[in-house]
């Protein structure tokens, strides 16, 4: 039998350190926001040669003022053929009032042509294979909706768990979830991973997943509470966690296998999702065992 409960203080300290480190990274370093959050345009460029980000920057920087500080990232999937490189170029053009502007249809085709020509003049064949734009309005809207989605989801879950279990379990689950979300966001910030709409989807899925894990433990505690005689609440919680740990490990491992392989092999647009899920699976499993239940032991009513 593993003692999860007795050493809870150590794990609470570890979690606190992780949460604080994440918050520091989030507030000092910030996020590498995707174009949906920033507003602006993302040009996906395919070059039929192996060139680097700085080569691309060199070739395009004079095409328009906003290109000078464009964010250029190479897109890689394991499956890509040799001799081809793909780049994501993110620019946020401003209009004469300094407001974010979106390219008109005509401007877009002119710009695409200019880029292709700049490469052609240097004997490269390039092709613009994607052009996504998000206006400032949409970016703002997505930010708002994302916050609302996360807050309302947590609230709804708190209510649901209170109804099905006890209020204190709801609090424990929500604390564990906030813990998971903050740490996962911290990883996005620390590793400079792009935070886009898919990443938000990952975080919301993680909420569902981590909660799923937590509920299985709570369910066992609830069941054991009904027939417990004499044993202390600490022992009861610890027994419950031990009874379900095999399931938790097997489930987490199988989910982790799928998600981690997705992270290794998937294309660029799924990568931020797979990254969040990979981190989330680990953090979520940990928090269900070491945070969600141990943290509320004092308040559980028999």
């Amino acid at each position: 039998m593993i003692d999860f409960v007795g050493k809870r203080k150590i794990f609470i300290v570890i979690s606190l350190i992780l949460v604080v480190a994440s918050l520091i990274s989030i507030f000092t370093k910030g996020f590498n926001y995707g174009v949906e959050f920033l507003g602006g345009s993302e040009i996906i460029l395919k070059v039929n040669a192996e060139v680097s980000e700085s080569d691309v920057r060199q070739l395009i920087k004079d095409l328009a003022p906003e290109f000078e500080n464009a964010r250029i990232t190479q897109i890689k999937s394991v499956d890509d053929p040799k001799g081809i490189s793909k780049f994501s170029i993110v620019v946020s053009p401003k209009d004469e009032n300094g407001e974010l502007k979106v390219y008109s249809g005509e401007e877009k085709s002119v710009l695409s042509q200019k880029i292709v020509e700049a490469f052609k003049n240097n004997n490269y064949t390039a092709e613009v294979i994607g052009f996504n734009e998000t206006s400032g309005y949409a970016a703002q809207e997505i930010k708002n909706l994302t916050w609302k989605a996360i807050v309302f989801t947590l609230l709804a879950l708190l209510i649901y768990i209170t109804l099905r279990f006890q209020f204190v379990f709801g609090v424990g689950a929500v604390v564990a979830l906030i813990h998971d979300v903050v740490i996962t966001l911290g990883f996005y910030s620390f590793f400079n991973y792009e935070l886009n709409v898919a990443a938000v989807a990952a975080i919301l899925t993680l909420i569902g997943y981590s909660l799923n894990d937590t509920i299985v433990v709570y369910d066992r505690i609830r069941e054991n509470l009904r027939r417990s005689r004499g044993s202390t609440i600490e022992t009861l919680v610890n027994n419950s966690i031990n009874q379900v740990i095999k399931r938790t490990i097997n489930t987490s491992l199988t989910t982790f296998i799928v998600i981690f392989i997705l992270l290794l092999f998937s294309g660029n647009s799924i990568k931020p999702f797979a990254f969040g899920m990979t981190i989330g699976t680990i953090v979520g499993t940990y928090s269900s065992l070491y945070i969600a239940s141990p943290i509320v032991i004092r308040w559980i009513k028999k």
Partner: protein, 477 residues
């Protein structure tokens, strides 16, 4: 045993339905394994294409905003059809009290042309029809000359079938023309003389009423003359009134009354939809709404295909590893879990095909995640079975107890995921919605698969299930 027969039958029927919906013949010519997926609609992020989203900015003073949004939709649909973008999808969505119109053009490699088309405010004008033909006038020298002589233009009608020779100046009177007039009202109404038909009434802004009056005086044709035929009718044919928008003749017909107050009625034996469309077109010049582009993007089909193959490969490798893992850990029960996993994957694909849901890239991620929930449900049940056997139950009794005890766990655990999915759907934009749909369907599917399909196979194979350490007792990890 009888219960299990019922489970077996349900199991077979459901999977048969899923395959039926997947394999129902389609026009798309996929072959081999790919034909399994040919009925699933792919999102533009996978199949390639352009997507433009507009916010419909409606004047605050408008009484009926939903009607305005409806009219904007009709005008856009009409314009895209005219420009041969018939495969384009135009849809309305609502978020936070705002209306959005999304235009999706599958396979388009450039949004520039579509954007110009949608963004431009069409020019609406009234003209006089001088001649009409159903053959292409540009290749007939006589017709080309006729247009030059009359200083008129050959324009196609809405359906692209009939050409009309139209000129702006009515009855050759210079300055008697009506270009981009403000139409304050246009309403489809039931035709009082024709039970099945509809008419369109419209009202011009006061400042245009006088010009319109002079036009109707010039083009006036008495109704009995139209029915008479003969030379007079041939003459009347040169006095038809045309309504032109975006260089297409939207309507051509006789003026049967002189109109003094700018309120007119158009008859044409329309269906309700045709009447609505004509009304929207008439109003398009004066729609109290502005279209603001909020996002646009296009994905080359190439990029989509690359990503799909890489992600699919990842998914398949992941599934195979999980399948092996489960057999190693749970033996016969692992095989049941594998059946359940494949079952739920095909069930999900079948539901996507049957409901016409669109599969987006995050949707693929949702499917992969479903694997997790299905396996999880099985593991919860198996651990219970093992526990019961260790306590000394027979395998059959253990299965039965495990299911009744696991039900509440599965229910609570999956419902919370569904709650998260619902919020994701409600607040999500674009492809995230697709993810939420696959997540919700997948979780519901895994609940069904765990409770019905897994149980059926477990009871079927119960003779082969062995649990190590049954005598030791206790539930050690």
């Amino acid at each position: 045993m009888k219960d299990n027969k019922v489970r077996g039958i349900i199991t077979l029927i459901v999977i048969a339905l899923a395959f039926l919906s997947l394999l129902w013949p389609t026009s798309e010519g996929y072959k081999g394994l790919a034909s399994l997926f040919s009925r699933i609609k792919l999102g533009l992020d996978i199949s390639g294409g352009a997507r433009i989203e507009y916010k419909v900015d409606i004047d605050k003073s408008v009484e009926n905003p939903s009607q305005v949004a409806e009219d904007v939709w009709t005008v856009l649909r009409n314009r895209l059809d005219m420009a041969n973008y018939t495969e384009a999808i135009v849809k309305q969505t609502f978020r936070e009290e705002n209306t959005f119109i999304i235009v999706e053009i599958p396979g388009a490699t450039d949004t520039a042309r579509a954007e110009q088309l949608i963004g431009s405010t069409g020019l609406l004008w009234f003209g006089q029809v001088i001649d009409s033909t159903t053959s292409d006038p540009k290749i007939d020298p006589n017709l080309v000359n006729e247009a030059k002589r009359e200083k008129a233009e050959w324009l196609l009608d809405r359906e692209g079938k009939t050409w009309y020779l139209v000129k702006k100046e009515i009855a050759n009177i210079s300055n008697l023309k009506l270009v981009s007039p403000k139409i304050v009202e246009a309403i489809p109404q039931v035709d009082r003389n024709n039970v099945a038909g509809y008419v369109v009434t419209f009202k011009l802004d006061k400042q245009y009423a006088d010009v319109f009056k002079r036009i109707t005086e010039k083009l006036y044709v008495p109704e009995d003359l139209i029915n008479q035929g003969g030379v007079a009718y041939q003459q009347a044919l040169k006095k038809r009134l045309a309504i032109v928008l975006d260089d297409r003749v939207q309507f051509a017909g006789f003026v049967t009354a002189k109109i003094t107050d700018g309120s007119a009625l158009i008859k044409g034996n329309f269906t309700l939809d045709e009447a609505k469309q004509l009304a929207a077109i008439l109003k398009s010049g004066a729609l109290p709404a502005r279209l603001e582009k909020v996002s646009s993007g296009w994905v080359a089909p190439l990029l989509g295909a690359d990503i799909v193959s890489a992600s699919l490969k990842a998914g398949i490798i992941g599934i195979i590893l999980v399948l092996i893992y489960m057999i190693i850990f749970y033996g016969v029960m692992g095989i049941v879990a594998d059946i359940a996993l494949l079952y739920n994957t095909f069930l999900l694909l079948g539901i996507l095909a049957a409901t016409g849901s669109i599969l987006t890239l995050p949707g693929i991620a949702g499917i992969i995640l479903t694997i997790g929930t299905t396996v999880d449900g099985n593991i919860i049940i198996y651990e219970r079975i093992k526990e019961e056997i260790r306590r000394g139950s027979s395998v059959k009794a253990a299965i039965s107890t495990a299911f009744s005890k696991s039900f509440i766990t599965l229910f609570d655990a999956n419902l919370t995921t569904i709650i998260a999915g619902l919020f994701l759907y409600y607040f999500g934009t674009g492809t995230v919605k697709g993810f939420a749909i696959t997540l919700i369907i997948g979780v519901l599917g895994s609940l069904f698969v765990n409770l019905v399909v897994s149980r059926f196979f477990l009871e079927l194979f119960s003779g082969a299930i062995k649990v190590k350490g049954a005598s030791k007792g206790g539930a050690r990890a």
